[in-house]
C-alpha cells in the first residue's frame, strides 16, 4: 500500500506533497486565526460591532467552501493564494464563533471583580478578557484547523502551481484509476490531521493549564 512513497505523479515523492499541503493549510489557517481571534474578541466585547457584523457573517457561514472555488479563482487567480483562501473560509468561522462565545461565557463576576480593582476598560480587555478567552480560542482553533485541513482537498481542486499537494496527489491517483493509491492518500491525510491536532492539544495544555 505504501507505494505512495514512490511518488504519485510518478517521481513526485510523498514528503513534498505533505509539505506543500501543510504550507497551504498553514497560510489559510494562520489568516483565519489572525482575523478570527481579534474580530471575535471585539464582537464579543462590543455590542455595537457585533450588531453590525453579525447578519452578513451569518449569511456567509453556511456557504460550502467548495462553492467558493470559482469565486476564489476569480479573485486570487490560481495557486496558493486561492487555495489558502478556501482553507481560510473553512477555518475562519469556527475560530470566530468560538472566540465570541468564549467572551460571552466569561463569568460576569470576574469582570466585576476587575472593575472593583479599578481596572480601566482597556485593562479589562487586555488583562481579563483575552486571558479568560484563551481556552475557548483554543477550542475554536482546533476545530478550525480540523475543518481547514478537511477543506484542503477542495482547495487543491482549483489547480496547483507546483504540482504538489496531498489533495492533488489523490486527484492524480483518481485520474489514473488507482483506488489503492487513493486510499493510501486518504490515510496520509488522516494521519497528518491527527498529528496536527495532537500538536495543538499540547500547545493548549501549556497555555491554558489553569483550566
Amino acid at each position: 500500500m505504501e507505494l505512495a512513497l514512490n511518488g504519485m505523479p510518478p517521481g513526485s515523492k510523498l514528503l513534498p506533497h505533505i509539505y506543500y499541503s501543510l504550507a497551504r493549510v498553514g497560510w489559510g489557517f494562520s489568516l483565519a486565526v489572525a482575523i478570527g481571534v481579534p474580530l471575535g474578541l471585539t464582537m464579543g466585547w462590543s455590542r455595537r460591532v457585533r450588531s453590525c457584523l453579525e447578519a452578513p457573517l451569518e449569511l456567509l457561514r453556511p456557504v460550502p467552501p467548495m462553492a467558493w472555488i470559482p469565486i476564489s479563482i476569480l479573485w486570487f487567480g490560481i495557486g496558493n493564494k486561492a487555495a489558502a483562501f478556501i482553507i481560510f473560509l473553512g477555518a475562519f468561522f469556527p475560530v470566530l464563533l468560538n472566540t465570541m462565545a468564549g467572551v460571552k461565557s466569561i463569568d460576569p463576576v470576574i469582570l466585576d471583580a476587575a472593575r472593583t480593582l479599578n481596572a480601566a476598560r482597556r485593562t479589562v480587555f487586555f488583562k481579563i478578557l483575552i486571558p479568560a478567552t484563551v481556552p475557548s480560542i483554543f477550542t475554536g482553533v482546533r476545530i478550525g484547523l480540523g475543518i481547514g485541513w478537511m477543506t484542503l482537498v477542495a482547495a487543491e481542486f482549483t489547480g496547483v502551481r507546483e504540482g504538489y499537494g496531498l489533495g492533488y496527489m489523490i486527484m492524480t491517483a483518481r485520474d489514473i484509476q488507482r483506488p489503492d493509491l487513493i486510499v493510501a492518500g486518504m490515510c496520509v491525510i488522516g494521519f497528518v490531521g491527527i498529528i496536527l491536532d495532537k500538536g495543538l492539544r499540547v500547545v493548549r495544555d501549556r497555555c491554558a493549564a489553569w483550566q
Partner: protein, 299 residues
Amino acid sequence: AEKPVRVAYLQNDIHHLPFWVARDMGFLARQGANVEVAGVFRSGPDIMSAFAAGALDMAYVGVAPATAAVANGTADVVVLSQSNAEGSALVVASNGRHLVKTVKDLEGKSVAIPGLSTVQDFLLKESLTKQGVRLDRVKFLVVKPPEMISALRNGDVDAFIAWEPYPAKASQMGVGRTLVSSGEMWPGHPCCVVVADAKFLASHPDQVNAVLRAHRQAVEWIGKNRDKAVDIAVKYTGMDEKTIRSAMKTVHYNPTLDADGVRRYARFLTGLGYIRIKDVDGFIGKFVRQESAAQRAGR
C-alpha cells in the same frame, strides 16, 4: 529581463502533449520563449476563471470553455492555434449487457458526459440527432471523466463520451470498448486550442509568437517521433505506456484550427441558451485570430 509568460494546462490531458514536448525537448527555449507554468488545472472552466483573474497569459484549453467564457464576457482571450483535433471517443460497456452496436442503440439508455456545453456534449447530441434519436429519449448524466469508468463498470451508465486517455484506459481495464471515435462522428472537429489573453497579445506579441513557434515545432516533432512522444506523455500522466499508445491513435495533433468548427459549436451553445451572441460571424472573427498569428509567426 522580461517577465516569463504564464502558461497553464490541464492535468492528465494528453491533448496538451505538444506543450509538454515543447518544454521537455527545449523548443520553447530554442525559440526564445521564456515560459513559466502558472498552474496545472483540473478543468477548462477553472483556467478561464484564472484568465478572468489576470493570473494567466496563455493556456492550453478546450475550445468549449474558451468560447463560453468569451461569449459570456468573463474572460477576454483569443484563439491562436490548435493543439489537437478529434481525440475523444464514445465508449460502451464491453460485457454487452445492453447491446449497443450503433449510436442509434443509445435510445432509452443513459450516457455520461463530462459536462454540459462541452465539446463531447455537442458531439454526442449532434450525432444522436443525425441518427434520428430524440434527445429526450436519452438520459444524460454529468460525470467527471475519472469517475466515468467506475460508473460504466457499476452499470450506472450504458456508455460515456470523454477525451483521451479515459476511453483508452477503459478498454485497457476491460470495462468498455470504443464504439465510435469522435473523428468518426465529426472528422477533424476542433478540440484543444492555444489561447492568449487579448491584452497580453497586444502588448507582448513577440513572446506570444515565440511560444506559438515552439508549439508548431512540437506538433511536427510528435508526428515524427511517436515513441519518444509516448514516453513524455507517460511521464506527465503517470499512466501506463499501453494506454497512452492506444489513446494517441485517435488524437490528431494539428496546429491549424478549423474556424468553421468553432462557428458550428458557437451556434450549438447559443441554441441551448448557454450563451447569447447575435452575430456569430463577428464573434468568431474577433475570437479566432489564427491567420494573423500565423502570419506573424512566419515573419
